[in-house]
Protein backbone atom coordinates (compact mmCIF):
# COMPACT_ATOMS: atom_id res chain seq x y z
CA UNK A 1 0.00 0.00 0.00
CA UNK A 2 1.14 3.54 -0.79
CA UNK A 3 0.78 5.78 2.21
CA UNK A 4 1.54 9.45 1.82
CA UNK A 5 1.39 11.52 5.00
CA UNK A 6 1.69 15.30 5.17
CA UNK A 7 4.04 15.43 2.23
CA UNK A 8 5.41 18.89 1.47
CA UNK A 9 7.75 19.98 -1.29
CA UNK A 10 9.42 23.35 -1.78
CA UNK A 11 11.19 24.82 -4.76
CA UNK A 12 13.25 27.46 -3.06
CA UNK A 13 10.76 29.87 -1.57
CA UNK A 14 7.84 28.39 -3.41
CA UNK A 15 5.84 25.59 -1.85
CA UNK A 16 4.53 23.25 -4.53
CA UNK A 17 2.96 20.65 -2.23
CA UNK A 18 1.31 21.50 1.07
CA UNK A 19 0.96 18.58 3.48
CA UNK A 20 -0.49 16.14 1.02
CA UNK A 21 -1.87 12.87 2.40
CA UNK A 22 -3.23 10.07 0.27
CA UNK A 23 -3.38 6.32 -0.12
CA UNK A 24 -3.22 3.87 -2.95
CA UNK A 25 -4.37 0.45 -1.92
CA UNK A 26 -2.90 -2.68 -3.42
CA UNK A 27 -4.47 -3.42 -6.76
CA UNK A 28 -6.03 -0.01 -7.15
CA UNK A 29 -5.91 2.50 -9.97
CA UNK A 30 -6.04 5.95 -8.48
CA UNK A 31 -6.28 9.02 -10.66
CA UNK A 32 -4.90 12.43 -9.75
CA UNK A 33 -6.73 15.31 -11.37
CA UNK A 34 -5.62 18.88 -11.32
CA UNK A 35 -5.07 21.95 -13.42
CA UNK A 36 -1.78 22.85 -14.96
CA UNK A 37 0.74 23.64 -12.31
CA UNK A 38 -1.33 22.15 -9.52
CA UNK A 39 1.60 20.04 -8.34
CA UNK A 40 0.79 16.64 -9.78
CA UNK A 41 4.18 16.14 -11.38
CA UNK A 42 5.84 17.36 -8.23
CA UNK A 43 4.04 14.66 -6.29
CA UNK A 44 5.00 12.00 -8.80
CA UNK A 45 8.62 13.10 -8.89
CA UNK A 46 8.73 13.00 -5.13
CA UNK A 47 7.24 9.52 -4.99
CA UNK A 48 9.75 8.23 -7.51
CA UNK A 49 12.59 9.90 -5.64
CA UNK A 50 13.63 12.44 -8.26
CA UNK A 51 12.52 15.26 -5.99
CA UNK A 52 13.34 15.55 -2.33
CA UNK A 53 10.49 16.15 0.08
CA UNK A 54 10.80 18.96 2.56
CA UNK A 55 8.43 17.34 5.00
CA UNK A 56 6.19 14.35 5.58
CA UNK A 57 6.54 10.74 4.56
CA UNK A 58 5.63 8.44 1.73
CA UNK A 59 5.85 4.68 2.04
CA UNK A 60 5.27 1.87 -0.40
CA UNK A 61 4.56 -1.34 1.46
CA UNK A 62 6.50 0.13 4.34
CA UNK A 63 9.49 1.18 2.24
CA UNK A 64 10.17 4.92 2.60
CA UNK A 65 10.22 6.67 -0.78
CA UNK A 66 11.34 10.12 0.25
CA UNK A 67 15.08 9.51 0.40
CA UNK A 68 15.64 11.30 -2.90
CA UNK A 69 17.08 8.16 -4.46
CA UNK A 70 15.06 7.04 -7.48
CA UNK A 71 17.31 4.05 -7.99
CA UNK A 72 16.31 2.84 -4.56
CA UNK A 73 12.62 3.40 -5.17
CA UNK A 74 12.58 1.58 -8.48
CA UNK A 75 14.46 -1.31 -6.95
CA UNK A 76 11.58 -1.50 -4.47
CA UNK A 77 8.99 -1.73 -7.14
CA UNK A 78 8.06 1.89 -7.81
CA UNK A 79 8.46 2.86 -11.47
CA UNK A 80 7.53 6.12 -13.09
CA UNK A 81 6.65 7.24 -16.57
CA UNK A 82 7.75 10.81 -16.06
CA UNK A 83 6.60 14.09 -17.44
CA UNK A 84 9.05 15.07 -20.15
CA UNK A 85 9.75 11.39 -20.85
CA UNK A 86 13.44 11.53 -19.82
CA UNK A 87 14.48 9.09 -22.54
CA UNK A 88 18.03 8.41 -23.70
CA UNK A 89 17.74 10.13 -27.06
CA UNK A 90 20.83 8.72 -28.73
CA UNK A 91 20.29 5.16 -27.64
CA UNK A 92 18.09 2.86 -29.67
CA UNK A 93 14.53 2.28 -28.64
CA UNK A 94 15.40 -1.24 -27.62
CA UNK A 95 18.31 -0.14 -25.46
CA UNK A 96 16.02 2.36 -23.80
CA UNK A 97 13.59 -0.40 -23.05
CA UNK A 98 16.21 -2.85 -21.86
CA UNK A 99 17.60 -0.21 -19.55
CA UNK A 100 14.08 0.13 -18.19
CA UNK A 101 14.59 -3.37 -16.85
CA UNK A 102 17.89 -2.43 -15.26
CA UNK A 103 16.72 -3.52 -11.82
CA UNK A 104 16.14 -7.02 -13.25
CA UNK A 105 19.49 -7.14 -14.99
CA UNK A 106 20.18 -10.63 -13.69
CA UNK A 107 16.94 -11.93 -15.15
CA UNK A 108 17.49 -11.75 -18.90
CA UNK A 109 14.74 -14.18 -19.68
CA UNK A 110 12.19 -12.18 -17.75
CA UNK A 111 13.35 -9.01 -19.47
CA UNK A 112 13.00 -10.58 -22.88
CA UNK A 113 9.51 -11.71 -22.05
CA UNK A 114 8.55 -8.25 -20.85
CA UNK A 115 10.07 -6.76 -23.98
CA UNK A 116 7.84 -8.91 -26.12
CA UNK A 117 4.89 -7.79 -24.06
CA UNK A 118 5.51 -4.07 -24.49
CA UNK A 119 6.12 -4.59 -28.19
CA UNK A 120 2.69 -6.15 -28.50
CA UNK A 121 1.28 -3.25 -26.57
CA UNK A 122 3.01 -0.72 -28.86
CA UNK A 123 3.48 -2.46 -32.20
CA UNK A 124 4.61 0.85 -33.73
CA UNK A 125 7.82 0.53 -31.77
CA UNK A 126 8.82 -2.76 -33.31
CA UNK A 127 9.99 -1.34 -36.60
CA UNK A 128 11.66 1.50 -34.69
CA UNK A 129 13.51 -0.74 -32.27
CA UNK A 130 16.92 0.13 -33.70
CA UNK A 131 16.24 3.82 -34.28
CA UNK A 132 17.61 6.36 -31.80
CA UNK A 133 14.80 7.26 -29.44
CA UNK A 134 15.33 10.94 -30.17
CA UNK A 135 14.43 10.50 -33.82
CA UNK A 136 10.95 9.22 -33.05
CA UNK A 137 7.81 11.29 -33.33
CA UNK A 138 6.51 12.88 -30.18
CA UNK A 139 3.84 10.27 -29.64
CA UNK A 140 6.19 7.42 -30.36
CA UNK A 141 8.55 8.77 -27.73
CA UNK A 142 5.70 8.85 -25.27
CA UNK A 143 5.10 5.18 -26.04
CA UNK A 144 8.73 4.42 -25.31
CA UNK A 145 8.48 6.24 -22.00
CA UNK A 146 5.44 4.26 -20.94
CA UNK A 147 6.95 1.02 -22.15
CA UNK A 148 10.17 1.72 -20.34
CA UNK A 149 8.39 2.15 -17.05
CA UNK A 150 6.59 -1.15 -17.60
CA UNK A 151 9.90 -2.88 -18.23
CA UNK A 152 10.79 -2.44 -14.57
CA UNK A 153 7.87 -4.77 -13.78
CA UNK A 154 6.81 -2.50 -10.93
CA UNK A 155 4.36 -3.18 -8.16
CA UNK A 156 3.44 0.51 -8.10
CA UNK A 157 3.26 2.29 -11.42
CA UNK A 158 3.35 6.09 -11.49
CA UNK A 159 2.03 7.43 -14.78
CA UNK A 160 2.35 11.18 -15.25
CA UNK A 161 0.10 12.18 -18.13
CA UNK A 162 0.78 9.08 -20.19
CA UNK A 163 -1.67 10.06 -22.92
CA UNK A 164 0.20 13.25 -23.76
CA UNK A 165 0.60 13.50 -27.51
CA UNK A 166 -0.87 10.09 -28.24
CA UNK A 167 -3.36 9.45 -30.98
CA UNK A 168 -6.88 8.71 -29.70
CA UNK A 169 -6.67 5.08 -30.70
CA UNK A 170 -3.40 4.66 -28.87
CA UNK A 171 -4.79 6.41 -25.81
CA UNK A 172 -7.47 3.78 -25.68
CA UNK A 173 -4.91 1.06 -26.02
CA UNK A 174 -2.75 2.56 -23.32
CA UNK A 175 -5.60 2.81 -20.89
CA UNK A 176 -6.65 -0.70 -21.71
CA UNK A 177 -3.12 -1.83 -21.08
CA UNK A 178 -2.98 -0.01 -17.79
CA UNK A 179 -6.09 -1.80 -16.82
CA UNK A 180 -4.57 -5.13 -17.79
CA UNK A 181 -1.39 -4.39 -15.90
CA UNK A 182 -3.48 -3.46 -12.94
CA UNK A 183 -5.47 -6.64 -13.16
CA UNK A 184 -2.19 -8.49 -12.90
CA UNK A 185 -1.83 -6.94 -9.46
CA UNK A 186 0.02 -3.70 -10.06
CA UNK A 187 -1.15 -0.61 -8.27
CA UNK A 188 -1.33 2.49 -10.41
CA UNK A 189 -1.28 6.18 -9.64
CA UNK A 190 -2.21 8.16 -12.69
CA UNK A 191 -2.16 11.87 -13.46
CA UNK A 192 -4.21 12.91 -16.44
CA UNK A 193 -5.60 15.93 -18.19
CA UNK A 194 -7.75 13.51 -20.10
CA UNK A 195 -9.90 13.09 -17.04
CA UNK A 196 -12.67 11.36 -18.84
CA UNK A 197 -10.54 8.51 -20.02
CA UNK A 198 -8.69 8.30 -16.74
CA UNK A 199 -11.79 8.18 -14.62
CA UNK A 200 -13.05 5.50 -16.94
CA UNK A 201 -10.48 3.05 -15.65
CA UNK A 202 -9.81 4.39 -12.15
CA UNK A 203 -11.21 3.02 -8.92
CA UNK A 204 -10.73 6.20 -7.01
CA UNK A 205 -9.39 9.66 -7.52
CA UNK A 206 -8.12 12.86 -5.95
CA UNK A 207 -8.25 16.44 -7.11
CA UNK A 208 -5.28 18.64 -6.51
CA UNK A 209 -5.31 22.40 -6.67
CA UNK A 210 -2.33 24.60 -5.95
CA UNK A 211 -0.49 21.88 -4.09
CA UNK A 212 -3.42 20.90 -1.91
CA UNK A 213 -5.76 17.94 -2.24
CA UNK A 214 -9.20 19.45 -2.41
CA UNK A 215 -11.37 16.53 -3.26
CA UNK A 216 -11.34 12.78 -3.22
CA UNK A 217 -13.76 10.08 -3.97
CA UNK A 218 -14.60 6.98 -5.88
CA UNK A 219 -14.89 6.93 -9.60
CA UNK A 220 -18.64 7.41 -9.37
CA UNK A 221 -18.44 10.24 -6.88
CA UNK A 222 -15.98 12.17 -8.97
CA UNK A 223 -17.78 11.57 -12.24
CA UNK A 224 -20.85 13.13 -10.79
CA UNK A 225 -19.25 15.95 -8.85
CA UNK A 226 -20.19 19.26 -10.39
CA UNK A 227 -16.83 20.91 -9.98
CA UNK A 228 -15.03 17.95 -11.45
CA UNK A 229 -17.45 17.87 -14.33
CA UNK A 230 -17.01 21.52 -15.16
CA UNK A 231 -13.28 21.87 -14.54
CA UNK A 232 -11.88 18.53 -15.66
CA UNK A 233 -14.43 16.82 -17.80
CA UNK A 234 -15.41 19.89 -19.70
CA UNK A 235 -19.09 19.24 -19.45
Amino acid sequence: MLEVRDLSVNYGHFTALHSVSLNVNPGEIVVMLGANGAGKSTLFRTLSGLQRASGGTAKWNGTPLTGGKPEYNVAHGVAQCPEGRLLFPELSVEKNLRLGAFVHRKDTAGTNRELERVYTLFPDLVQKRHAPAGSLSGGQQQMVAIARSLMARPSLLLLDEPSLGLAPLVVEQVFAAVQRVNEAGVSVLLAEQNAFAALGIAHRGYVMESGVLTLQGTQQELMTDDRVRSAYLGV
Binding site: N36, G37, S137, L169, A231, V235
Partner: protein, 267 residues
Protein backbone atom coordinates in the same frame (compact mmCIF):
# COMPACT_ATOMS: atom_id res chain seq x y z
CA UNK B 1 -2.93 29.98 -50.13
CA UNK B 2 -0.47 27.12 -49.60
CA UNK B 3 -0.11 24.36 -52.14
CA UNK B 4 2.16 21.36 -51.77
CA UNK B 5 2.71 18.96 -54.63
CA UNK B 6 4.22 15.52 -54.34
CA UNK B 7 6.00 16.51 -51.17
CA UNK B 8 8.30 13.94 -49.63
CA UNK B 9 11.31 13.47 -47.39
CA UNK B 10 13.21 10.43 -46.28
CA UNK B 11 15.47 9.85 -43.32
CA UNK B 12 17.74 7.02 -44.28
CA UNK B 13 15.35 4.39 -45.56
CA UNK B 14 12.37 5.87 -43.80
CA UNK B 15 9.87 7.85 -45.87
CA UNK B 16 8.58 10.14 -43.14
CA UNK B 17 6.49 12.10 -45.65
CA UNK B 18 5.68 10.69 -49.02
CA UNK B 19 4.10 12.22 -52.08
CA UNK B 20 1.72 14.53 -50.28
CA UNK B 21 -0.33 16.84 -52.43
CA UNK B 22 -2.62 19.16 -50.54
CA UNK B 23 -3.60 22.74 -50.09
CA UNK B 24 -4.42 24.98 -47.20
CA UNK B 25 -7.13 27.55 -47.79
CA UNK B 26 -6.85 31.16 -46.77
CA UNK B 27 -8.94 32.32 -43.84
CA UNK B 28 -9.69 28.80 -42.70
CA UNK B 29 -8.60 26.42 -40.01
CA UNK B 30 -7.06 23.30 -41.40
CA UNK B 31 -6.39 20.43 -39.03
CA UNK B 32 -3.91 17.69 -39.76
CA UNK B 33 -4.48 14.48 -37.92
CA UNK B 34 -3.07 11.02 -38.07
CA UNK B 35 -1.47 8.33 -35.95
CA UNK B 36 1.72 8.89 -34.06
CA UNK B 37 4.62 8.94 -36.44
CA UNK B 38 2.37 9.62 -39.41
CA UNK B 39 4.60 12.48 -40.47
CA UNK B 40 2.54 15.44 -39.32
CA UNK B 41 5.31 17.29 -37.53
CA UNK B 42 7.64 16.46 -40.38
CA UNK B 43 5.10 17.92 -42.78
CA UNK B 44 5.14 21.16 -40.80
CA UNK B 45 8.91 21.08 -40.70
CA UNK B 46 8.98 20.83 -44.46
CA UNK B 47 6.61 23.72 -44.97
CA UNK B 48 8.48 25.95 -42.57
CA UNK B 49 11.79 25.22 -44.28
CA UNK B 50 13.16 23.31 -41.34
CA UNK B 51 13.81 20.27 -43.44
CA UNK B 52 14.61 20.33 -47.12
CA UNK B 53 12.25 18.01 -49.00
CA UNK B 54 13.72 15.21 -51.07
CA UNK B 55 10.90 15.58 -53.55
CA UNK B 56 7.99 17.83 -54.39
CA UNK B 57 7.29 21.52 -54.17
CA UNK B 58 5.69 24.04 -51.86
CA UNK B 59 3.99 27.19 -53.11
CA UNK B 60 2.78 29.94 -50.87
CA UNK B 61 0.62 32.75 -52.26
CA UNK B 62 1.67 31.66 -55.69
CA UNK B 63 5.39 31.77 -54.99
CA UNK B 64 7.70 28.81 -54.81
CA UNK B 65 9.10 28.51 -51.27
CA UNK B 66 10.34 24.94 -51.54
CA UNK B 67 14.01 25.71 -51.04
CA UNK B 68 13.76 28.77 -48.84
CA UNK B 69 15.51 28.92 -45.49
CA UNK B 70 13.28 28.97 -42.45
CA UNK B 71 13.71 32.66 -41.72
CA UNK B 72 12.79 33.50 -45.30
CA UNK B 73 9.70 31.38 -44.98
CA UNK B 74 8.78 33.30 -41.85
CA UNK B 75 9.40 36.53 -43.70
CA UNK B 76 6.96 35.43 -46.41
CA UNK B 77 4.34 35.00 -43.72
CA UNK B 78 4.38 31.46 -42.33
CA UNK B 79 5.05 31.16 -38.61
CA UNK B 80 4.97 28.04 -36.48
CA UNK B 81 5.08 26.68 -32.96
CA UNK B 82 6.70 23.47 -31.82
CA UNK B 83 5.17 20.24 -30.56
CA UNK B 84 6.94 20.50 -27.23
CA UNK B 85 6.72 23.99 -25.87
CA UNK B 86 9.93 25.74 -26.79
CA UNK B 87 10.29 29.33 -25.76
CA UNK B 88 12.98 31.39 -24.06
CA UNK B 89 12.15 30.54 -20.50
CA UNK B 90 14.71 32.85 -18.93
CA UNK B 91 13.69 35.88 -21.00
CA UNK B 92 10.68 38.03 -20.29
CA UNK B 93 7.41 37.30 -22.00
CA UNK B 94 7.74 40.53 -23.94
CA UNK B 95 11.27 39.71 -25.05
CA UNK B 96 10.01 36.42 -26.41
CA UNK B 97 7.40 38.22 -28.44
CA UNK B 98 9.91 40.82 -29.63
CA UNK B 99 12.24 38.10 -30.85
CA UNK B 100 9.43 36.92 -33.07
CA UNK B 101 9.17 40.39 -34.53
CA UNK B 102 12.80 40.41 -35.66
CA UNK B 103 11.90 39.29 -39.13
CA UNK B 104 9.98 42.52 -39.68
CA UNK B 105 12.95 44.72 -38.75
CA UNK B 106 16.12 45.48 -40.67
CA UNK B 107 18.42 47.17 -38.16
CA UNK B 108 21.78 45.41 -38.11
CA UNK B 109 25.07 45.63 -36.32
CA UNK B 110 25.99 49.04 -37.66
CA UNK B 111 22.65 50.46 -36.67
CA UNK B 112 23.22 49.08 -33.20
CA UNK B 113 26.71 50.50 -32.86
CA UNK B 114 25.80 53.91 -34.24
CA UNK B 115 22.29 54.01 -32.75
CA UNK B 116 20.88 55.10 -36.05
CA UNK B 117 17.36 56.29 -36.60
CA UNK B 118 16.51 52.92 -38.07
CA UNK B 119 17.67 51.21 -34.90
CA UNK B 120 15.46 53.40 -32.76
CA UNK B 121 12.51 52.99 -35.09
CA UNK B 122 12.93 49.23 -35.28
CA UNK B 123 13.26 48.94 -31.55
CA UNK B 124 10.05 50.82 -31.05
CA UNK B 125 8.27 48.78 -33.66
CA UNK B 126 9.47 45.56 -32.08
CA UNK B 127 8.13 46.65 -28.77
CA UNK B 128 4.83 47.66 -30.27
CA UNK B 129 4.65 44.50 -32.37
CA UNK B 130 5.50 42.33 -29.40
CA UNK B 131 2.92 43.99 -27.18
CA UNK B 132 0.29 43.72 -29.87
CA UNK B 133 0.95 39.99 -30.14
CA UNK B 134 0.77 39.60 -26.38
CA UNK B 135 -2.53 41.38 -26.33
CA UNK B 136 -3.88 39.04 -28.97
CA UNK B 137 -3.04 36.00 -26.83
CA UNK B 138 -4.08 37.70 -23.61
CA UNK B 139 -0.68 37.95 -21.99
CA UNK B 140 -0.19 41.72 -21.98
CA UNK B 141 -0.38 41.85 -18.22
CA UNK B 142 2.42 39.30 -17.86
CA UNK B 143 4.76 41.04 -20.30
CA UNK B 144 7.44 41.65 -17.70
CA UNK B 145 7.52 38.17 -16.14
CA UNK B 146 10.11 35.60 -17.08
CA UNK B 147 8.38 33.29 -19.51
CA UNK B 148 9.43 30.24 -17.52
CA UNK B 149 7.34 31.42 -14.57
CA UNK B 150 4.12 30.95 -16.51
CA UNK B 151 1.99 27.84 -16.42
CA UNK B 152 2.26 25.28 -19.20
CA UNK B 153 -0.69 26.88 -20.84
CA UNK B 154 0.73 30.35 -20.45
CA UNK B 155 3.95 29.17 -22.05
CA UNK B 156 2.02 27.78 -24.98
CA UNK B 157 0.51 31.22 -25.42
CA UNK B 158 3.95 32.78 -25.31
CA UNK B 159 4.95 30.45 -28.13
CA UNK B 160 1.93 31.54 -30.13
CA UNK B 161 2.67 35.19 -29.37
CA UNK B 162 6.20 34.72 -30.63
CA UNK B 163 4.84 33.35 -33.86
CA UNK B 164 2.17 36.04 -34.13
CA UNK B 165 4.56 38.93 -33.72
CA UNK B 166 6.20 37.99 -36.98
CA UNK B 167 2.90 39.12 -38.48
CA UNK B 168 2.18 35.89 -40.32
CA UNK B 169 -0.50 35.14 -42.83
CA UNK B 170 -0.44 31.46 -42.01
CA UNK B 171 0.14 30.03 -38.56
CA UNK B 172 1.21 26.43 -38.03
CA UNK B 173 0.45 25.03 -34.59
CA UNK B 174 1.86 21.64 -33.60
CA UNK B 175 -0.26 20.08 -30.85
CA UNK B 176 -1.16 23.35 -29.20
CA UNK B 177 -3.52 21.72 -26.71
CA UNK B 178 -1.23 18.92 -25.54
CA UNK B 179 -1.13 18.84 -21.76
CA UNK B 180 -4.08 21.21 -21.43
CA UNK B 181 -7.19 20.36 -19.50
CA UNK B 182 -10.60 20.74 -21.12
CA UNK B 183 -11.16 24.19 -19.73
CA UNK B 184 -7.86 25.45 -21.05
CA UNK B 185 -8.51 23.73 -24.32
CA UNK B 186 -11.72 25.65 -24.71
CA UNK B 187 -9.91 28.89 -24.05
CA UNK B 188 -7.35 27.99 -26.66
CA UNK B 189 -10.07 27.27 -29.17
CA UNK B 190 -11.52 30.64 -28.50
CA UNK B 191 -8.15 32.23 -29.08
CA UNK B 192 -7.62 30.43 -32.35
CA UNK B 193 -11.01 31.41 -33.55
CA UNK B 194 -10.35 35.02 -32.74
CA UNK B 195 -7.13 34.91 -34.66
CA UNK B 196 -8.82 33.48 -37.69
CA UNK B 197 -11.54 36.04 -37.32
CA UNK B 198 -8.82 38.66 -37.56
CA UNK B 199 -7.83 37.36 -40.99
CA UNK B 200 -5.21 34.77 -40.14
CA UNK B 201 -5.15 31.30 -41.61
CA UNK B 202 -4.30 28.46 -39.28
CA UNK B 203 -3.10 24.94 -39.81
CA UNK B 204 -2.78 22.76 -36.77
CA UNK B 205 -1.81 19.28 -35.74
CA UNK B 206 -3.72 17.93 -32.79
CA UNK B 207 -4.77 14.66 -31.24
CA UNK B 208 -7.55 16.17 -29.17
CA UNK B 209 -10.62 15.42 -31.17
CA UNK B 210 -12.74 17.87 -29.24
CA UNK B 211 -10.56 20.63 -30.54
CA UNK B 212 -10.18 19.27 -34.04
CA UNK B 213 -13.81 18.54 -34.60
CA UNK B 214 -14.94 21.73 -32.98
CA UNK B 215 -12.56 24.00 -34.77
CA UNK B 216 -11.46 22.70 -38.12
CA UNK B 217 -13.01 23.80 -41.38
CA UNK B 218 -10.97 21.29 -43.24
CA UNK B 219 -9.17 18.15 -42.08
CA UNK B 220 -6.27 16.43 -43.69
CA UNK B 221 -5.48 12.92 -42.52
CA UNK B 222 -2.01 11.45 -42.75
CA UNK B 223 -0.86 7.90 -42.28
CA UNK B 224 2.57 6.41 -42.91
CA UNK B 225 3.70 9.69 -44.39
CA UNK B 226 0.89 9.84 -46.91
CA UNK B 227 -2.35 11.70 -47.14
CA UNK B 228 -5.14 9.17 -46.75
CA UNK B 229 -8.13 11.46 -46.56
CA UNK B 230 -9.32 15.04 -46.50
CA UNK B 231 -12.55 16.86 -46.06
CA UNK B 232 -14.79 18.44 -43.49
CA UNK B 233 -14.86 17.06 -39.96
CA UNK B 234 -18.08 15.30 -40.72
CA UNK B 235 -16.69 13.66 -43.83
CA UNK B 236 -13.48 12.63 -42.24
CA UNK B 237 -14.98 11.18 -39.10
CA UNK B 238 -17.11 8.91 -41.25
CA UNK B 239 -14.21 7.73 -43.38
CA UNK B 240 -13.57 4.07 -42.53
CA UNK B 241 -9.86 4.26 -43.30
CA UNK B 242 -9.51 7.13 -40.86
CA UNK B 243 -11.52 5.35 -38.25
CA UNK B 244 -9.47 2.27 -38.55
CA UNK B 245 -6.09 3.94 -38.59
CA UNK B 246 -6.70 6.69 -36.16
CA UNK B 247 -9.99 7.44 -34.54
CA UNK B 248 -11.20 4.14 -33.29
CA UNK B 249 -14.27 4.53 -31.14
CA UNK B 250 -13.94 8.31 -31.05
CA UNK B 251 -15.42 8.63 -34.45
CA UNK B 252 -18.73 7.63 -33.01
CA UNK B 253 -18.78 10.20 -30.29
CA UNK B 254 -16.45 8.33 -27.98
CA UNK B 255 -14.99 9.78 -24.87
CA UNK B 256 -13.06 12.56 -26.47
CA UNK B 257 -15.11 13.36 -29.46
CA UNK B 258 -18.17 13.85 -27.38
CA UNK B 259 -16.60 16.39 -25.10
CA UNK B 260 -18.76 19.02 -26.63
CA UNK B 261 -17.02 21.95 -25.08
CA UNK B 262 -16.19 23.29 -28.49
CA UNK B 263 -19.82 23.31 -29.50
CA UNK B 264 -20.80 24.85 -26.22
CA UNK B 265 -18.70 27.91 -26.75
CA UNK B 266 -20.05 28.30 -30.25
CA UNK B 267 -23.24 29.45 -28.77
Amino acid sequence: MLEVKGLGIRFGGNHAVQDVTASIEAGKITAIIGPNGAGKSTFFNLISGFYQPTSGSIHFLGQDITRLATHDVVARGIARTFQTTTIYRELSVLDNAMIGHRVRTRAGLWDALLRTGRERRDEQESRAGGMAALERVGLAAQAGLPAGALTQEGQKRVGIAMALSSDPKLLLLDEPAAGMNPEETVNLMGLIRELVGGGLSVALVEHKMSLVMGLADEILVMHHGQKIAEGTPAQVSRNPAVIEAYLGSHAHGGQMGQAGAGEASHA
